[in-house]
């Protein structure tokens, strides 16, 4: 329980999450600016500007710096011969144990932003659930996918 899985996800994953965070902050900033314009034209009280500014700042700090950092530090995975172990979570930390016997198939996937950073995410599917490791270097992800699929084929039911 206390010994965490060994591997961390790529350091570049943190950068990607910061990029996502910046985008989200940009959306919030747009909304806040819209509200600011309304405030200007309708002569709402002046102190509202301060609140808009504070909201942008708060979300910026939280979404760009704080959350990605915690998430990145917390993300661990380990692929052993008979099982896969994952750990992730922001407020609630989730530990997941997937036996190799239960793995049905493995996918890697790469969006435009991930491709730019030469990263890929890898999804492990069982009959009932899907688990994703969000940011691995592409070569590493391909290698891991191949390894899991071999291990999953070899694994035998022990019950």
């Amino acid at each position: 329980m206390d010994n965490q899985p060994k591997n961390q996800i790529s350091r570049k994953g943190l950068t990607v999450w910061r990029v996502y965070g910046s985008m989200e902050t940009a959306v919030i900033a747009l909304i806040a600016i819209g509200a600011g314009v309304l405030t200007y034209f309708f002569d709402w009280p002046q102190w509202l500007y301060a609140i808009y500014g504070a909201v942008i700042l708060l979300f910026g700090v939280v979404l760009i710096f704080w959350f990605p950092k915690i998430r990145w530090q917390r993300w661990r995975y380990e692929v052993r011969e008979h099982e896969i172990e994952l750990q992730h979570g922001l407020f609630i930390v989730t530990r997941t144990l997937v036996p190799m016997v239960r793995v049905q198939h493995v996918d890697t996937e790469q969006g435009p932003i991930l491709r730019k950073y030469d990263l890929a995410e890898i999804s492990i599917s069982t009959a009932a659930t899907t688990h994703t490791i969000p940011a691995l270097v592409t070569a590493e992800a391909d290698e891991l996918r191949a390894r899991i699929s071999v291990l999953a084929r070899v694994a035998e039911d022990d019950v």
Binding site: E81, R95, R102, A127
Partner: protein, 503 residues
């Protein structure tokens, strides 16, 4: 092998027609409803000459089309047996062929509707293991005679038998494979009228009916001539709130009675039978349904008790089964819609001898108790503040929810528990109803352990075990347990090979 092609019973044409009508019912109601109630009722349609008749003509044409389509569908549907496969050819405009190898067929499910019964027909659903492709290799024979259904089953047995005979010589010395003895089907359980009544009267289906009545009434409220009714209502109101309350009460009672009748009709003569590898459930008054569950596909058993039934010692037993057709509500098959707990145990023991049914549960530690209600209270507090502020002073009555939430939390805390056997996990938890899952280790797909920040500080963890159920998963959650218990379950769940390596 080629023995000729079989057709469905002619009544299928009519059934196809009815089915098509059912699907078009809603658009029809909307189109006609709008047209009829826009003017001064139906009569206006005829006054406007042929233009007013357009909806009627369109409707008639659609009905005619449905009828013809139904007949053509029946005409073109043929099935036959060839090369150990069930082959079906059908299609309205495009001819489609579907070949299903007999060994891939998981089960044949029968249903008898009101039109089937008098003619001695059945509807047969062919279920396969669900190759993941939605809706593929699956067939429905709308109406065939009993004998035809038996013939399919016989043909299936024959093909499987032949297959095993072809294989044996390769494996070893020639052995005579004896024809499989006719499987003995044993009746395990027959629901008594008393149980059926209790089921019907305590069913939560009542909620559905009440909302249905509400919708029904709200629909009709648009058609009621309000001006005329208005004066009556004033008069009505003079009689006072008593009458209003009485009316509501009567409506509720009626809703309840309808729900009771519906449940009785659906579960009439509920019977469980089984042979070596299948459970059969038969039920229904108007439409008799027979469902078969291959024992191999059972993933887990869930026993649920809502508070009312728990009080009287009754429970519902659900079988979580894998695969099958998508969107079929029968995936979570109710093995017992309602049964007295002491009567259910021997039957479950006979059906699933490998499971331990009365394990000693380990409960949650005392210090975890506030996790069961604290977060809910935090979420509710803005609501309390808002209601209290805007509806002062009566809004403060909302605070009465606080003790309710706490009591439910304490109740949940007392219910939660788990037990580890050699090969089995038992997990018990409560929303408002009590649920208990019995799962074999080899059926668990994934185990997850979660800890929030506060749980981590107190050494508490929640455990989620997921099994396959239908095309999706079902998760048994035991929240807020001792951290050591979570570790124990994780270690227990680790595959044997891994454990040997680490020790």
């Amino acid at each position: 092998m080629y023995e000729g092609r079989y057709k469905l019973h002619p009544i299928s044409a009519f059934l196809n027609f009815i089915k098509g009508m059912k699907e078009l019912l809603l658009p029809f109601i909307i189109i006609f409803g709008v047209n009829i109630f826009r003017g001064d009722g139906i009569s206006s349609m005829f006054n406007q000459g042929w233009q007013g008749m357009i909806p009627l003509i369109v409707g008639g044409a659609v009905l005619l089309f449905l009828l013809v389509a139904g007949i053509i569908k029946w005409k073109r549907f043929v099935y036959w047996f060839e090369d150990g496969e069930l082959r079906i050819e059908y299609g309205l405009f495009v001819k489609k062929k579907r070949y299903i190898p007999f060994e891939r067929i998981q089960s044949l499910n029968y249903a008898e509707g009101i039109f089937h019964r008098p003619l001695g027909l059945v509807k047969v659903k062919v279920e396969t293991a669900g190759s993941g492709k939605v809706g593929q290799a699956e067939a429905e024979l709308t109406a065939i005679s009993r004998e035809d259904a038996d013939r399919i089953e016989k043909e299936m047995e024959k093909a499987k038998h032949q297959l095993s005979r072809e294989k044996t010589p390769i494996i070893g010395p020639v052995e005579f494979v004896e024809a499989p003895a006719k499987k003995t089907t044993k009746t395990l359980y027959h629901m008594s009228m008393k149980e059926l009544l209790i089921l019907a009267t305590t069913s939560s289906g009542i909620g559905v009916v009440i909302s249905a009545v509400a919708i029904f009434l709200s629909q009709f409220s648009e058609f009621i001539p309000y001006d005329a009714v208005y004066e009556e209502i004033i008069l009505f109101l003079r009689f006072g709130a008593l009458i209003v309350a009485l009316t509501i009460f009567v409506v509720l009672v009626m809703a309840w009675v309808i729900s009771v009748i519906m449940t009785i009709v659906a579960n009439y003569q509920f019977t469980i039978q089984y042979d070596e590898d299948r459970i059969y459930i038969t039920r229904g008054l108007l439409e008799k349904k027979k469902v078969s569950i291959p024992l191999k596909r059972v993933q887990g058993i869930k026993i649920s008790q809502n508070p009312l039934r728990e009080l009287f010692g009754y429970a519902t037993v659900v079988v979580e089964s894998a695969g099958g057709s998508v969107g079929d509500k029968d995936e979570k098959i109710r093995l017992f819609p309602l049964v007295k707990t002491d009567r259910m145990l021997p039957i479950l023991e006979e059906l699933f001898p490998e499971l331990e049914w009365t394990p000693q549960l380990v409960g949650a530690p005392k210090r975890s108790i506030h996790f069961f209600y604290r977060l809910n209270l935090v979420w509710l507090s803005p609501m309390f503040a808002a209601v209290g502020y805007f509806f002062y002073p009566y809004g403060l009555l909302a605070l009465l929810i606080v003790p309710v939430v706490i009591v439910i939390g304490i109740w949940q805390h007392r219910t939660v528990g788990y037990a580890l056997g050699d090969r089995q996990l038992t997990a018990q938890f409560r929303g408002l109803s009590k649920h208990r899952y019995f799962i074999l280790k080899k059926r668990i797909q994934v185990v997850q352990v979660t800890q929030s920040y506060f749980e981590r500080r107190k050494g508490i963890a929640s455990i989620h075990s997921t099994i396959k159920s239908g095309m999706m998963g079902a998760t048994a959650t035991t929240p807020h347990m001792e951290k050591e218990d979570a570790s124990r379950i994780l270690t227990w769940y680790k595959p044997l090979g891994a454990k040997e390596q680490s020790s």
